[in-house]
């Protein structure tokens, strides 16, 4: 665990030592601010639910951007071999890098906390859904990050990693929109697989263990796959 945290700290600091984190966070905040605050006073409701819907969309390109280089870049430059010859396990490397990306996501979400704080001074804001909304974003974003780490473990090209994880995340996100065109039996399964189905429940203020288990399962399975993918270089 100590080694995992050391890797996480190093990676997390790395984000802020390059302009990447600042560009991603600033762009994210500008887009969020524009799309959330423009219609806000027209709707005239003391609610930040619209913010979660927007964030869910904006996470789609943001999360792959944060993870695309985590393993792919190390592979391309060959530093992965140096890293893996150190006294750390493959799993610790994967989890450490994942935690660093999760930390950056937390910083991103922390920045948007100014929105509900602002809204609460303009009207009576129900804080329950605000907290569960952030939990939803952390879980959905966490799942996207795990998929990003997985995609990054498959290739040594950052762009390929970005598009691969972007497409997978988009598929998980968009699939619920096609449910009316599917047969009933398939629709139930596909609906359960979609991010949006589980995310919306949390975003409106309902914490259901099924939704939490779902996101944790996606995270867990993606990270295990990434670990096996990294490990496969020894026998493939």
């Amino acid at each position: 665990m100590h080694r995992t945290l050391t890797i996480a700290k190093r990676e997390f600091r790395g984000y802020f030592n390059s302009p990447a984190a600042y560009i991603v966070v600033c762009l994210f905040l500008i887009l969020m601010g524009f799309f959330f605050w423009n219609p806000f006073f027209l709707i005239n409701r003391a609610s930040v639910r619209g913010m979660y819907d927007l964030m869910s969309v904006l996470l789609l390109p943001t999360m792959p951007a944060l993870t695309m280089g985590l393993l792919a870049e190390e592979k391309r430059t060959g530093t992965i071999e140096i890293l893996l010859t150190m006294p750390v396990k493959d799993g610790e490397v994967v989890v450490g890098k994942y935690l660093a990306a999760l930390g950056l996501l937390a910083v991103l979400l922390l920045c948007t906390l100014a929105y509900p704080l602002s809204v609460s001074t303009l009207g009576r804001l129900d804080w329950g859904p605000v907290f569960t909304g952030y939990l939803a974003l952390l879980l959905e974003g966490g799942a996207m990050l795990a998929i990003g780490v997985l995609a990054s473990s498959w290739t040594d090209n950052q762009l390929i990693a970005f598009f691969t994880s972007g497409i997978i995340c988009f598929a998980f996100w968009v699939v619920s929109r096609f449910l009316p065109f599917m047969p009933q039996a398939a629709a139930s399964v596909v609906e359960w697989l979609s991010f949006d189905y589980h995310y919306q429940d949390l975003a409106r203020g309902v914490v259901d263990t099924r939704n939490v288990f779902y996101f944790l399962s996606v995270i867990g399975f993606s990270l295990v796959l990434a670990f096996r993918s990294l490990e496969s270089r020894r026998w493939s």
């Binding site: 905040l29 027209l42 709707i43 203020g205 493939s236």
Partner: protein, 586 residues
Amino acid sequence: MTKKQQARAAKESAAFLLLVGGILILINVLGVFFHSRVDTTDKQLFSLSKGSLHLASTLKDQMEIVAYFSADLPPPHNATERYVRDLLLEYKDASHGKITLRFVHPEKDEDKQAAERDNVPRVQDQKLEADSFSVQEGYRGLAFHYLGDTRSVGHIDSTDGLEYEIAQLIKEMSGEKVKIAVLDGHNEAPQQQNPMMMMQQPQGGPHMNSIKGYLPTYDVQEIRADKEIPADLKALLIVQPEIPFTEQELRYINQYVMRGGSLAIFGGALKVDMAGGAPTASAVDVGLNKLLDKWGVRLEGKLVADAQCGRARMQTSLGIPLPVPYPPVPVVSFTEYQRKHPALFKLDQVGLPYSSPLTLSDVLKSDKLVKRTLLANSTKQSWLMEGPSIELKPTDRWRVPGYSGPYVMAVALEGKLPSAFAQAPASTPEANANAASDIKAPERAEKPVHVLVFGTGYFMRDEFLPDPSRGQRESGGAVALALNAIDWLAQESDLIEIRAKSVEDPALAVPMNVKEAEATIRRAVQEQDEAKADKAFKERKQAMAAWDQKKSTYRWANTLGLPILFALFGLSRWRARKARKAGMQL
């Protein structure tokens, strides 16, 4: 690594992944059966009431709910769609697969036609575009398909009470009806013309055919009280009785309430003869006060007249009917406190024709098991009409002896009421007295009961109600009051909670100085003080400008301020690192 070792490692890896995948799938499948759920919203908005859950979970066949919502509805209807979606998902989850949902954005002609077929009409909404309003057409309704039957909520204007409306519809379609009864055998007068309007043709019985039409989810029976009243009746309604009750009947009614039945008494101290468009009223004593006295309420044989009243047609000498104020039909306005009672939910005011005043006593004041709520009273500008024959013919000249109001016109009692005949012997030496005293009842209601007492029941009778086939939405306050009252008496308390649920997010708080300026404007207009109004208008304009400035500050501080702050943090960090690097020596 040899090829054999590589193959073995690959197999082990695949088996490990399968194992992990299997465990995760198992956890998720188990989670479907063993899960917990917490609704963190203040008002438990996304938790269906027990009544709705029960309805959804006991559906016997597949129900399809189609939500027709146009994609670009203007505010606030765009937020309504989200609430409807959430609410329907709750129904779906509770139905164990019996409810399927379909969300349609009617853009194609075939979808629009389907919406029209499902009785979801196209509605017009105002939309704000730049500085002007435009009219936009769209759909925002629900259709329910169940066993070949289709019902709809044609257009959803507000989310208030929507869960109740849906619950009622599902209940109506799935055939689970609540049994209530109207007491028969105490109405002798044939139905006659209502001087205010002619709604229905004369019919026999207790004259409640219209109200029955408004109660599709109820099994409304007509019963007599000369024998034990079935305990499975959720409520017993006594509407404008005119023939006295025997002691035996009163004891059976008391017994029914003590066993947990709800009772509503609508009138019973006045009899109005509406023959020939010149109605007269006279006091009657049907004996209900023997019950009510014990519960601290008494129906008086007088009539409440109010300056705040409805209108009736007065025949002029030319034969042309002229609408004139009609004080025997007081229009009762409800206070904010009274409107919180489920029986008055969403009601601003209602006309209560030919009402007796209620006198309240303190017999149950110290009884902590009983709660009494004053539901309706006349205005201060009201008075009482009394006498052996009270003239009620519409006229433009009413004799007002002086205002003596307000008078109580409706009361609700809830709790474990004491028996009206707990230990009292039969009050008359009639032949049935012995038999009556044999009718046993607990000394207190076995469970909390609901009792409503209104000074009148005429607002529930056919003469005063529109034809139910014209729809509830056209029916106005009288029907709403009657239905609310019956719901409160007969429904499960959790269904009542649904009606009181307000689900919209609270609006942004308008600054106090804007509100104060608006109040000053209203006062100035009432006082016809032009200078004061002008000053208040200017103050409001300034306050609104300040409010707009505040909005703009919030918008830009959040949109640009936050990213700029974050960028500045990055810049300072970069400069600090650069300085640190410059100071480093090898």
